[in-house]
Structure formats: structure tokens, C-alpha cells
């Protein structure tokens, strides 16, 4: 498995898209934190959550990067070269997902702590200290959320096999679908409670006005469950299909 991890690492970093994604994800998150800090008025002191506004933009970039890591393999048929070199397709998918997820986690941690640091340097007061468990989750938890999002994106990319399709799904789902389900009369808010990215948000940033059915760690576990289910579906598909 270490051989396969090394193989997938070489594959990932010898194309340009992960590098651009790293730059874009860090630029958007940390840059946005800087803008918020620069624009804040003296009256209200900044808190930890104010430094993390850009995290959702970084999440979108990570979703796209992770999906592309697999859809470009189908686009250029390097997936066939891969299965020719390593016929154990399950192992290939596990290694690829692991490498992408670890990169996503590292991006998430740098983005979160970078945003926090920038905000503190520009306009920080004692309120910016990471003091409570919620503060720790809000900052250190970003890596976990990004990693699980990457697993979801790799799985969707594997199932769809097509960049445009996979990216459309991965953008429209968290940005539109998860919000629009609230409009369904009656059941809407309950369905909303069980949307994966809503739960990602609740893990990082517990809602102030509604009472979620599960706590923040429950939300994260639920997100992980969704990721695991999609990954399992991708595993079945990749083994059953002709390459």
C-alpha cells in the first residue's frame, strides 16, 4: 500500500491542477480573513469565528480539486494505464482517495490557522484566543471537514467519470440543493438537518437559532458516514465496470 500511496502522490503532484488548487484555496480563505479584519470597525471586537468566513470558499476549491484528481484520469484514459500497472482496482481507489484526502486536510489546517493568524495580526484582541472546545473545532476541525469533502468528491468523480458532470454536482449540491430543500413544505427543515454539508457546517459552527438533532461530533460522524457510503458505491462501480 505504501507503494501505491507513493504512486498516487507522484501522479497528483506531477500535474498542475493541485498546485493551482492549493494556491486558490489558501488565497481565498486567508485572503478573505485579511479583508474581514481590515474592514472591521473598532466597536465590536473580532472573535475566532470572524476569521473563518472564507473556509466555505476553500471547501469549494477542495471539492473541485479532489473530483478532478479522478475525472482527469478518465478524461485522458490514464485510469487504464493505472489499472494495467495495478490490476487491484480497490487498492488503487483507496490509495488515491487517501492521498487526496491528506492533501485536503493539510490545505484545511493551513487555511484555518492561516486565517486565524492573519486576523489576529491585523485586528486581534483577547477575544481572538482559541479558548473553548467550539473554538478548537472551528479552526482545527477544518482539516477533518476538507478531508471528508475530498473523499465525497473523489467518490462522485469516480461514479460520474466526467469533470463537468462531477463538478456541477459538487457545486450545485452544497450551494443550492442543501439550501433549497428547506423550501419543501413540512418536511423541508427536517431533510435540511440531514444534508451532509449542513452537518459539516454545524460541526465547525453550531447554529445559534435552531436545535440540530445531533451535536457537532454527531454531525461530523454523519458527514463521515455519507462519505463512506459514497466511497463504497464508487468501489463497487470501479470493480464492476470495464476500464
Amino acid at each position: 500500500m505504501t507503494t501505491l500511496l507513493a504512486t498516487e502522490r507522484i501522479k497528483l503532484f506531477t500535474t498542475r491542477s493541485p498546485w493551482w488548487s492549493i494556491v486558490a484555496a489558501l488565497g481565498l480563505t486567508i485572503g478573505f480573513a485579511g479583508l474581514v479584519a481590515l474592514n472591521h470597525s473598532e466597536g465590536r471586537p473580532l472573535q475566532v469565528e470572524h476569521s473563518q468566513f472564507g473556509i466555505q470558499f476553500g471547501l469549494v476549491v477542495v471539492l473541485v480539486m479532489a473530483a478532478l484528481a479522478v475525472t482527469t484520469e478518465y478524461r485522458f484514459s490514464t485510469i487504464r494505464a493505472t489499472f494495467q500497472a495495478v490490476p487491484n482496482r480497490s487498492a488503487v481507489l483507496v490509495a488515491k482517495t487517501a492521498v487526496v484526502a491528506v492533501l485536503a486536510a493539510v490545505i484545511g489546517e493551513i487555511a484555518a490557522f492561516g486565517s486565524w493568524t492573519v486576523t489576529r495580526v491585523i485586528a486581534g484582541g483577547p477575544e481572538m484566543a482559541i479558548a473553548t472546545g467550539a473554538d478548537v473545532r472551528m479552526v482545527a476541525g477544518v482539516g477533518l471537514v476538507y478531508a471528508l469533502a475530498a473523499v465525497i468528491a473523489v467518490a462522485v468523480g469516480t461514479l460520474v467519470r466526467q469533470s463537468a458532470g462531477a463538478i456541477s454536482i459538487l457545486l450545485i449540491w452544497p450551494l443550492l440543493v442543501e439550501n433549497l430543500v428547506q423550501l419543501i413544505p413540512g418536511a423541508g427543515p427536517h431533510i435540511h438537518d440531514w444534508m451532509p454539508f449542513v452537518n459539516a457546517e454545524r460541526f465547525l459552527n453550531p447554529p445559534e437559532f435552531t436545535t440540530p438533532p445531533i451535536g457537532p461530533w454527531g454531525s461530523l460522524a454523519y458527514l463521515a458516514g455519507v462519505a463512506a457510503a459514497l466511497f463504497a458505491a464508487a468501489m463497487v462501480a470501479v470493480n464492476r465496470r470495464d476500464a
Binding site: L4, T7, T14, F76, T78, R80, T82, F83, Q84
Partner: protein, 314 residues
């Protein structure tokens, strides 16, 4: 040694490969010949475990591809030179392949040297010409120094120099005792490259023999005889049991050469107006054998003559 046993692949209603059995010996170049759409690429993908057969098996040295440990050390294959990420350098492409089968990093430079790509190793593969891509594909196939090599239409779209290079290269690989299995839709090319031929049409085996046997069999010589006294000549030939075909004013005789027919005519007192040997070309022979099995006929083709034989395949 590659062995296909009852290999079958069905896509919905289409039977792409139909109960195909053949074997590819080591130490020789074996051509895999068939018109476009005959199922050559599908068969090769099944041998490599990329496509799952609907029925039958393909074995390499007695093992299924999926059961091979570090398969690049056993089987090298070039199915499509474009299976490369265009933004990855030639060296990086070979590096990840080498890593996946625990091949030493220095092997990458060795194979780049063998195919003559050392000077462009750092360039992105997307900018390569077809000839260079083909060489990169061959470098990838050679990475693990495998005993079995598969090439799908390796000369397609290459210039004469590239074709010659690949042909010599295949011969060298076979002389080193390797199993070389190379597909093509061009019989003329295969006649020069391959010593053995597996011929298929519409997914079915048409013949497996040495190239020499295939060519002599397929291009069996005939003699065209024209005479104002066809009837006595026909009966004289008929007694000898040779096969005769009417062709307008003439007879086409096979199984007897010009000299014998001339002497026979003289003995029978038959006047001859023409006595000419007819040698079928390889292409004609191939068409004759696979003509019924060409999948796509074009409208401009003459009746019975498939028009897809010399057009590029994919």
C-alpha cells in the same frame, strides 16, 4: 505465451468478440489481423484485464492478468499512445508507472534512452507528435523488461521512418525470446512484421497459421485461359480434377500452372487466345477471407469489396 480460450465479449446486443481461441508463442512476432471493428482492441483489453470477458479466459503464462504480481514486469502493453496526462512530462509519466511496480528509478532513464526520448524527457507529453507519443508508449511497455509485449496498431499514423523503426524493434524483441503480439488492420504491414498470424473478423477466429502459410494459401495462384474452343478444354481440364471457374469468355483455373495447361491444350488441339497467370494481391486475399466479416461497408465501395481496409483505425 498468451492463450485465449473461448474469449467472448458482448455489449448489449452486439457480440464484439465471439468464442475466440488462439495462442501466441514466445520468440516470435505474432500479428493480430482483422478489419476495423473486428474486435482486436477489445480482445487486447480483455487480455490485460481492463475489460471483463462475458465468457472465456485469457491467460498469460498460465495466469490471469489480474492475478499477476507487479504485472508490468511480466506484460508490457501499448494499447493507445494517448493514455498519458498531457500536462505530465514524459519522465513523470514513466516515474509513476515505475513506482507502481517497484521498478528502480534509473530504469526510467534507460527506457527513455532505448526509445530515443532522453532529450525531451522533461517536456509535457501533451505537446508530443504522434511518433513521439508512440515511442513514449513503447518506453512504458518496456519499463518492467517484460517477457510478453502487446501492441495495438503501433504503426497507425506513423511516417515511414517510424514504421520501419517499430518493425525492427518488434523483431529485436522477438529475437530476445519475448512474446510479441501486435495488432493491425493492414495485411501488407503484417506480412513484413509478423511471423505468425491470428486473423479475426467480426470477433471470430478466421485462421491461425504462420504468415507464410497464410499468404500462400490466401493468394493461391490461378491461370486465366481464353479460347474459341472452351468446351473441349473444359472437359479435358475437368478430367484432371482441377477447379475451374467461368469468367465471361475465359476460364479461371486453379491448381495447375501455365505450362501444364498449355501442353494440355496442345495435346487436345485447342487454340488458345490467352494464357495468363493471375496472382492475387495480399490485400485481395485478406478481403476475400474477411470480406463477409467487415462490419462497416461504405456506400461507394464496389459490390463485395469492403472499403475500410486501409483507413486508419480508431
Amino acid at each position: 505465451m498468451i492463450e485465449a480460450v473461448g474469449l467472448t465479449k458482448r455489449y448489449g446486443k452486439t457480440l464484439a468478440v465471439d468464442n475466440l481461441s488462439f495462442s501466441v508463442p514466445s520468440g516470435r512476432v505474432t500479428g493480430f489481423l482483422g478489419p476495423n471493428g473486428a474486435g482486436k482492441s477489445t480482445t487486447m483489453r480483455m487480455i490485460l484485464g481492463l475489460d471483463t470477458p462475458t465468457g472465456g479466459t485469457a491467460l498469460i503464462d498460465g495466469k490471469r492478468y489480474r492475478d499477476l504480481q507487479q504485472p508490468l514486469r511480466t506484460v508490457g502493453a501499448l494499447l493507445d499512445a494517448k493514455w498519458v496526462h498531457p500536462n505530465r512530462s514524459a519522465r513523470a509519466h514513466l516515474q509513476w508507472l515505475a513506482r507502481s511496480n517497484r521498478l528502480p528509478a534509473k530504469r526510467v532513464d534507460e527506457v527513455l534512452e532505448i526509445v530515443g526520448l532522453t532529450s525531451v524527457a522533461g517536456k509535457r507529453a501533451g505537446g508530443f507528435s504522434l511518433g513521439m507519443s508512440q515511442r513514449l508508449g513503447i518506453a512504458a511497455a518496456l519499463l518492467g523488461d517484460p517477457q510478453v509485449l502487446l501492441f495495438d496498431e503501433p504503426v497507425n499514423g506513423l511516417d515511414p521512418e517510424g514504421i520501419l523503426w517499430i518493425r525492427k524493434f518488434m523483431h529485436r524483441l522477438a529475437e530476445e525470446g519475448r512474446t510479441v503480439f501486435v495488432s493491425s488492420h493492414l495485411l501488407s504491414e503484417m506480412a513484413l512484421t509478423a511471423q505468425e498470424l491470428v486473423v479475426i473478423g467480426r470477433g471470430k477466429l478466421i485462421s491461425q497459421s504462420s504468415t507464410e502459410d497464410f499468404v500462400t494459401q490466401a493468394t493461391e495462384n490461378t491461370v486465366r485461359v481464353r479460347s474459341p474452343q472452351l468446351a473441349p478444354l473444359r472437359s479435358a481440364l475437368g478430367k484432371l480434377g482441377v477447379s475451374i471457374r467461368d469468367e465471361g469468355e475465359a476460364l479461371v483455373v486453379s491448381g495447375m500452372d501455365c505450362a501444364d495447361i498449355g501442353e494440355l491444350a496442345a495435346r487436345e488441339g485447342v487454340v488458345l487466345h490467352e494464357l495468363s497467370p493471375q496472382r492475387g494481391s495480399l490485400e485481395e486475399a485478406f478481403m476475400q477471407l474477411t470480406g463477409d466479416s467487415v462490419e462497416y461497408h461504405t456506400e461507394i465501395a464496389e459490390p463485395g469489396v469492403p472499403a475500410t481496409l486501409t483507413t486508419a483505425g480508431k
